[in-house]
């Protein structure tokens, strides 16, 4: 039982990390209809920007996060303004290729600026743990879970009630009709990239905290977050979080139990399992768990 709780908590924390990455994908997809493969790059950049603000500029850690979020948000908006805006109206395939290209560019810029070495984030959490019953909870995991929940709640309120959030959904559904109603599609696009950049920073910081350190590898987590997004539905913040948690739990529980009970599946099956779950769920609900079903009158 202790094992199970321990693994579940770790899975939840991992899921929260995936969720933070996934939320960035979701907001861009929701507003612009683009699957942004450069999101992993933004996560990486956000992490390094925080490092830079904290270590190089000497800003206190907790303050350096919002500063880096603003910076990374500005980078996101700039990327949209300079690159993606020219792609409006072009085939989806071309837009996707451009975002993949952006991923490589950001990666090069980051490694060129900060190098390949593992850096110490300088977070105050480190490997601190506390014990509840027999279960050990690490401080950084608790923070991750809390932040993911907070960001999700914020997204939900934003899209449901705020003027800009509703305008974003309207633009996503019918760009021309939104423009005809006085909504500036350009501002909506820029804003969605800015928000994605800010959320990516949070994901980057949490990935590099808790003793794991900051290295260019963290961008690969974006690929692992992918089943989470597909699973939850591309355009649903709640789905992104739930998808993240399912994938996180699947991964840690498989890692914990599979060697004991199904050893014949081989080593490292835990990284395959998320995709198995994704395929099964997509067979049942092709638009994901929470994705918007196409509205159609019969």
């Amino acid at each position: 039982m202790t094992d199970f709780l321990q693994l579940s908590f770790a899975g939840l924390a991992l899921g929260a990390l995936y969720a933070l990455v996934a939320l960035g994908f979701v907001i861009i997809y929701k507003a612009t209809g683009v699957i942004n493969f450069a999101q992993g790059g933004l996560v990486l950049l956000g992490g390094y920007l925080t490092y830079n603000v904290h270590h190089t500029w000497g800003v206190p850690f907790y303050l350096s996060i919002p500063v880096a979020m603003i910076l990374c948000g500005m980078v996101g908006a700039a990327v949209e303004r300079v690159v993606l805006r020219r792609m409006v109206g072009q085939p989806v395939f071309a837009v996707i290729m451009v975002t993949i290209g952006l991923l490589f560019v950001i990666e090069q810029v980051v490694t060129g600026t900060w190098g390949f070495n593992r850096l110490n984030m300088g977070d105050p959490w480190g490997i601190k743990k506390f014990t509840v019953g027999d279960v050990q909870l690490s401080v950084v995991n608790l923070w991750t879970i809390m932040l993911a929940a907070l960001v999700m709640a914020g997204f939900f309120l934003f899209f449901r009630y705020s003027r800009l959030g509703v305008a974003m959904r309207a633009t996503a559904f019918d760009q021309e009709a939104a423009i005809a109603n006085g909504i500036s599609a350009r501002r909506v696009f820029a804003l969605s990239w800015a928000i994605a950049g800010a959320v990516a920073t949070l994901a980057g910081v949490m990935l590099a905290s808790g003793g794991s350190g900051l290295s260019p590898e963290i961008e690969f987590v974006a690929l692992l977050a992918f089943p989470a997004i597909i699973l939850g539905g591309l355009d649903s913040p709640a789905g992104a979080v739930l998808g993240g948690v399912i994938i996180g739990l699947t991964q840690t529980l498989t890692a914990g139990y599979q060697p004991r009970y199904a050893d014949w599946l081989g080593n490292g099956f835990s990284s395959v399992m998320p995709y198995v779950v994704m395929i099964v769920i997509l067979l049942i609900r092709p638009y994901g768990l929470f994705g918007t079903k196409e509205v159609r009158r019969v």
């Binding site: 005809a180 006085g182 909504i183 500036s184 509205v295 009158r297």
Partner: protein
């Protein structure tokens, strides 16, 4: 009203407008049109005559369709809006209801209206506009939390009009509001347009349903091949023989034989 109002009085004045798509296809060939303040003006014409293009040129949506104004001017309330972007046009007080309704089907009725009011910040004013829309369309009131995509065609048209009214326009452009709706609903839409107009909003009504449009229009224009080929007071057009024959389906002596198709062709080219 017997003649188009002088330019100073017109809330919308279009002069000698030429529009090309993709730099080569000339769609409007010098269109001029006035909407006098407080009037309902009907714009008639067959498919492809250039009615929707004219609306796009007025509201700034041309760019989305790779079109451009090459000649002519559009004046709204005395100031030029030629080539202005759509959001700026909406802010100046001109709203449009696009052809085919184009409601945000995945959003609720309330959210559609909220998106419609995007350009305005004043909460009290928005509330007023919202209440006005709900009074005008009690059916929307009953369904205000429903997803717009599941409304009936008539209700969606009402929502599209309501969404435009959230911008509190002084001039409302309606592109074929009767398209694909049952006669009873068309009648309702007609009454709504009159209502909106009587509350002080000028209306430019683009229609293929000429009976409906001319029955409420102070003035009417007929477009063909990118030109205005006929214009006159609504009642006058309604009684016009050509209009009756080509738009109202009223023949002089019952059904025509195929022999007369040639005459039709000849007579339809008013401008030639």
């Amino acid at each position: 009203m017997t003649s188009p109002a002088p330019e100073t009085q017109a809330i919308l004045a279009v002069h000698g407008l030429e529009v090309v798509y993709s730099d080569v296809i000339l769609v409007l060939r010098g269109v001029s049109l006035d909407v006098p303040r407080g009037a309902i003006v009907a714009l008639l014409g067959a498919n492809g005559a250039g009615k929707t293009t004219l609306l796009r040129a007025i509201t700034g949506l041309l760019r989305v369709h790779r079109g451009a104004i090459t000649k002519g001017t559009v004046q709204f309330d005395g100031s030029s809006i030629t080539g202005l972007d759509p959001a700026a046009v909406v802010r100046k007080g001109m709203s449009q209801v696009m052809e085919g309704r184009r409601v945000f089907a995945e959003l609720t009725v309330d959210e559609n209206l909220k998106a419609g009011g995007f350009t305005r910040r004043d909460k009290a004013e928005l509330r007023d506009s919202y209440d006005r829309v709900m009074t005008l369309f009690p059916k929307l009131q009953d369904r205000h939390k429903q997803t717009a995509g599941y409304l009936s065609g008539g209700e969606q048209q009402m929502l599209a009009i309501g969404r435009a009214l959230m911008q509190s326009p002084r001039l409302l452009l309606l592109d074929e509001p009767s398209l694909g709706l049952a006669p009873l609903i068309v009648e309702q839409i007609r009454e709504i347009v009159v209502d909106i107009n009587s509350q002080g909003t000028s209306v430019l009504l683009v229609e293929q349903n000429a009976t409906m449009a001319l029955s409420i229009a102070d003035y009417g224009y007929v477009m063909e091949n990118g030109r205005v080929v006929k214009d006159g007071p609504g009642q006058e057009l309604l009684n016009d023989k050509d209009i009756q024959e080509f738009y109202l389906g009223v023949g002089e002596a019952g059904r025509k034989s195929f022999r007369d198709v040639k005459t039709y062709r000849r007579r339809k080219r008013w401008s030639a």
